[in-house]
């Protein structure tokens, strides 16, 4: 059964004369880990910006569980169940790790303007934060300011913040960017572990990670999806080899 969570329909995005995304059609199935790969400047990040509400598409539609989300504002997209991380670490640097996660969790509990309850006494929220800390292996760092964390810990924290709202779909934008091999392995493990049973759309440059992690892969070149398929299919695809992978994976 191919139950589609996220659907791109003929999505096009141009900035003035520059066509960044050209007529993209893409289905992300429920429960799969779907990776988008492509050379630099292919439009991978733009694709993420389009479905997370940062930009609106020039034409076409993006549907989340059958509801149109293209053109909505980021906060509205998030509330419909799509959460994302960013290519460049995007956390709350000057407050503690615990507080970072609490801000991420509170929204789901409808706590935004409430000034009549104490955040420290919201037991449901705090239990979820503790649980997240545990799964992110950051419990020992709960009281540390986020800007004092190591780079890979910051990336873990950001992945945790994406998870906090219990979304239908998680977008991770190059979660391993700038990491050492060791950190990459660690983070890949973490992602596999904490996104179990969830739907994941990920952009990543590290091919070994992508091929090991993803159930399906889409290849984006110059704003067009030239192939979508299982890692084996992508590896075998002549067009992909020519356009992008070259010898790196074929070898």
């Amino acid at each position: 059964m191919n139950d589609t969570v996220l659907k791109f329909e003929n999505v096009h995005k141009s900035f003035g004369p520059a066509h960044i995304i050209r007529d993209v059609d893409l289905d992300v199935h429920r429960g799969e880990r779907h990776a988008v790969i492509g050379p630099n400047g292919a439009g991978k990040s733009t694709l993420f910006h389009l479905c997370s509400g940062q930009f609106a598409p020039s034409s076409g539609r993006i549907l989340l569980d059958g509801e149109q989300i293209s053109g909505l504002r980021p906060a509205e997209v998030n509330r419909r169940g799509l959460a994302r991380s960013f290519q460049i670490t995007n956390i709350f640097p000057g407050i503690t790790v615990h507080e970072n996660l609490r801000l991420a969790v509170m929204r789901k509990h409808g706590l935004q303007f409430s000034f009549w309850r104490f955040a420290g006494r919201l037991s449901a929220v705090n239990a979820e934060v503790e649980d997240l800390l545990d799964r992110l292996r950051l419990t020992a760092r709960a009281g540390t300011l986020a800007n004092q964390l190591s780079y890979s810990e910051q990336r873990s924290l950001e992945i945790g913040m994406t998870l906090a709202s219990d979304p239908k779909l998680i977008l991770l934008d190059e979660p391993m960017a700038g990491m050492s091999q060791e950190e990459t392995d660690y983070t890949a493990d973490l992602i596999r572990e904490i996104t179990r049973g969830r739907t994941l759309l990920i952009v990543e440059h590290d091919m070994s990670v992508v091929f090991a992690l993803a159930d399906r892969i889409s290849v984006l070149v110059y704003g067009e999806i030239i192939a979508t398929g299982t890692p084996e299919e992508i590896r075998a695809n002549a067009q992909v080899k020519e356009a992008y992978l070259g010898e790196e994976v074929a070898a």
Binding site: G53, P74, P93, S114, F115, R117, G120, S165
Partner: protein, 408 residues
């Protein structure tokens, strides 16, 4: 934590006992200090906690002040509310003004936000003299505190306690507010509004609400001022009111909870004691601000908290000794600087120019002595004081740094 509660308890006890400890003029100054403290706390809820630097907080202070005066004069002078409850009027109008202004101002961030707040405040300031009915024109509006609840509110002491009660209540509320989801989200606004958006929060509504809360407490401070001086004049809307609260808050330290209150109170106190001694208080205020920003960027209270919360590794004795040397150096440099400033101020004043004719430069009286502008001593003394003070400061800092290094 226990030490903090203890310190706060002592401070409150001293504040409550103050009317029996100080003279009436000083108690009057204390009322103004309390008001300045609350105003700075209100401003810092927005600036320190939520990271939005407003250059127009005089507007909400002023709105509260005028609303209170009108409320005092309502019903032929009987008052809209009993006197002790009048600050509520300031709170209500401040909140309303903050909601409206905040809605527009928080559509932008950073410099643009600051410019919008400045423009809105200046708009009100420019408009005020023309709206005689509301702002009383050049003369302002005066009123009278009505007796209520068995108090006449005729003495400074009663006004002091009324102000103290409101200021403590408001500061307490601001503290509690910091612990609520709204208060925590305000920190998120400061740290990364963009991320909040992608976590599903309505950042604009959130910013507007934080702005309005800040304006509400500024309105209470304004109302307390009206109650204190039994009048309001459109000068409370002037830009220097907006800038003072910025300077005071940063001098105290906007990121530590009571920093702004202490900054506001201290600067008001300095202003009060130097009012008769100097005509250039604003210059000193500016110098203090620049020095604090350069050498103690966390503010006076912020640096103290930092020192006591583990930044300092040396033993109390050596640290205290260095503190003493620093203080001595600072005092000498300050004395030299004040001498120069005061001498130049008198030397360059039009009054002195009128007495100086041709080659005849009469001596200038300063600190009980006559100083001739032509004498080298007049210039060498402050210069030497300044140089020696700075040298002492530098030496003490070097010693402290070397000891820290050795211990690290």
């Amino acid at each position: 934590m226990k030490a903090k509660i203890f310190l706060v308890a002592i401070a409150v006890a001293v504040l409550v006992a103050l009317p029996w400890l100080v003279s009436t003029p000083l108690l009057n100054a204390a009322v103004q200090m309390l008001i300045a403290a609350l105003f700075a706390m209100a401003f810092s809820f927005l600036c320190g906690r939520a990271g939005m630097l407003s250059f127009g907080h005089a507007a909400y202070f002023g709105i509260g002040a005028f609303a209170a005066v009108h409320a005092m004069n309502a019903f032929g002078g009987a008052g809209l509310l009993p006197t002790p409850l009048l600050p509520l009027v300031g709170a209500g109008t401040g909140l309303l003004g903050g909601l409206i202004a905040g809605y527009f101002a928080t559509k932008r961030t950073g410099v643009y936000f600051a410019m919008i707040t400045l423009a809105l405040a200046e708009l009100l300031h420019a408009l005020a003299p023309h709206l005689k009915g509301t702002f009383g024109g050049e003369a302002g509006i005066s009123s009278f505190r009505m007796p209520a609840w068995g108090f006449t509110f005729g003495s400074v002491t009663e006004v002091y306690f009324l102000t103290l009660a409101w200021v403590l209540l408001c500061i307490g509320l601001l503290w509690l507010l910091g612990l609520t989801p709204l208060g925590r989200l305000a920190l998120g606004l400061r740290e990364n509004g963009h991320r909040l958006r992608f976590l599903g929060y309505n950042v604009h509504a959130l910013s507007t609400l934080v702005f309005a809360v800040s304006a509400m407490f500024a309105g209470v401070a304004g109302a307390l001022q009206s109650l204190n001086i039994e009048a309001a004049n459109y000068v409370v809307l002037e830009a220097h009111v907006s800038t003072s609260v910025v300077l005071n808050s940063f001098i105290g330290g906007v990121r530590v909870f009571l920093g702004p209150a202490i900054g506001g109170a201290a600067m008001t106190f300095f202003g009060y004691i130097t009012a008769d001694l100097t005509r250039v208080w604003l210059l000193y205020q500016g110098i203090i601000f620049v020095l604090v920003m350069m050498f103690l960027p966390r503010g006076l209270v912020g640096e103290l908290v930092e020192r006591f919360s583990g930044g300092e590794r040396r033993s109390g004795g050596t640290a205290l000794l260095d503190g003493g040397w620093r203080l001595a150096g600072f005092a000498m440099a300050a004395a030299g600087c004040v001498f120069l400033v005061e001498f130049l101020q008198r030397f360059l004043s039009t009054g002195y120019r009128a007495t100086a004719t041709g080659e005849n430069w009469p001596p200038i009286e300063l600190m009980g002595f006559d100083w001739s502008p032509g004498s080298p001593l007049t210039w060498l003394l402050p210069a030497a004081l300044l140089a020696a003070g700075l040298w002492l400061l530098g030496a003490a800092n070097k010693r402290a740094a070397a000891q820290q290094e050795a211990l690290a």
